[in-house]
């Protein structure tokens, strides 16, 4: 197994806390016909980081950088969950058993499945651990 197949390029955008920043990011992606699967905003006093999982990461990064946003790729992994009661518990157990240290996480629940997106400190070990414990990871090729 090549862990690379499961490493997904998330877009991280620095944003000052002021009205209209999220709209500016979303508008830029709309103009490039880029679809957003999931996003989260992490905020602190005065600034925040917008994290996005999109269908075309490379053009998205280029467009946002061109507009002057401070933007970078971050390696994340996405775990498939059952969209039913106990789905998160099952996944969380796997993460716990695999001794994975989560730096941050966010989730989305779509029409086909629910997905937990994770940034972890040891990405290769996390991928091996989750798969060994029976977890199912999304493949990176979905996001290209």
């Amino acid at each position: 197994m090549d862990t690379k197949d499961f490493i997904i390029k998330q877009i991280s955008v620095f944003s000052e806390n002021k009205p209209g920043r999220l709209a500016a990011i979303a508008k830029a992606l709309e103009e490039e016909k880029i679809n957003i699967f999931a996003f989260s905003i992490a905020e602190s006093k005065g600034f925040g980081v917008v994290r996005l999982l999109v269908d075309k990461p490379a053009p998205a990064l280029e467009k946002l950088a061109h507009l002057g946003f401070m933007v970078s790729f971050t390696d994340v992994i996405a775990v498939n969950m059952k969209d039913e009661p106990g789905g998160l518990y099952e996944t969380a157990k796997i993460l716990g058993n695999s001794e994975i240290n989560i730096e941050y996480a966010y989730a989305y629940s779509g029409k086909d499945a629910a997905v937990l997106i994770l940034r972890v400190d040891q990405v290769d070990e996390a991928i091996r651990g989750i798969r060994k414990s029976g977890g199912e990871l999304l493949k990176a090729e979905m996001f290209k």
Partner: protein, 434 residues
Amino acid sequence: MRAWDPRIEEMPVLELKKLQYRYLKTLVYRLYSFSDFYHRRMKEQNVHPDDIKSLEDVKKLPFMYKTDLRDNYPNKIFTSSTEELVRYHVSSGTTGKPTVVGYTQKDLDLWTQSLARSLTACGLGRGDVMQVSYGYGLFTGGLGLHYGAEKIGATVVPTSVGNTERQIELMQDLNVTAIACTPSYLNHMGDVAEKMGISIKNDTELKTAILGAEPWSEQMREYLQKEMGISAYNIFGTSEISGPMFTECLEQNGIHIWGDIAYTEIIDPETGENLPAGEKGELVMTILQKEALPMIRYRIGDITCLDESVCPCGRTHPRIDRLSGRVDDMLIIRGINVFPSQVEHALLGISEVSGQHFMIIVEREGTLDNMTVQVELKQESFSDKINDLMDIKRKVSHILKNSLNVSCGVEIMAPNSLPRFEGKAKRVIDRRNI
């Protein structure tokens, strides 16, 4: 008491000018003979002591600048030896290098004498209890007011700054009648007292406040006077001229600059030409009798105007107006001088941010000045983990506090989000409305 020294304070203007001329002449001869620094300055300007034939000839003399003190750190332009010095005061410098002022016993006596006259002019004297809430130590405020108040026979409570609740208890217990501090600190004391259930107006004996060391407005004076039932007087001075030396009188209409101590000029900061009385310009002072560190035509950098008319209080010495700004971009934050160049210098030493792109925002929140520095993050330092960004913010905040001696807020900004300047940068947004 009407005046501490009526003979000098109410001296006819012409006589005062004659006295000033005599002191000036002596000072210039002394410096030309004994100060390498000023001798060289005069040579460069092609002026000899013999060219000073009247008080107005002072304008032939070269200016002195704050940089002269920094460049000659710590004591290269002192004209007294260590045996003659009895004290040093040290002020914070613009890029880490402080300025040192040395005092002979006569220098200290003159400083105290000046304050004795000024405090008396504010109606203070024997029987008053004065709380000195300026910092004691290297800063001139605490010790200056301390000796001035003792000289007039007032009882001094040397509280220095901080521990506000204790200060308010002492103010009550010792029947304090007068306080010397920054206007924002007095305002702060009012707020703290209120929280303690104490009204300064009704529950203390405070009647007089000597306020300065930071810019403040006439509106602030009216507010403090009404709120606390006191009379508030403006005090002026900088460490280079000794320290806080001059105050208003009971008229509250301009700060009396004792003419036998200082000769005051107002100049056009661009051309260096003297401006007529009443016109606003840069304050320039010659300290006529200073021994250890003589200051001739010192460019203080504050903007004000001069009123040479005789004051209704009977004092003949000229008055300067409330300071209305600075020639340079110096900020005064909670009594501490801050130059944007200092902020830049500190930021340039931090690899995670672009030190050349920053803004300084000053606001008055409640009673205290707050300074916020906005600085752009470098692309390569961007992490999408909030903790990493918070670490950078804390690091910037820590380094700024160490180099400015005053704490400030920090905002991390995206690259290219702050204004770029062509020509002179305007990096300061001052929203204090003073």
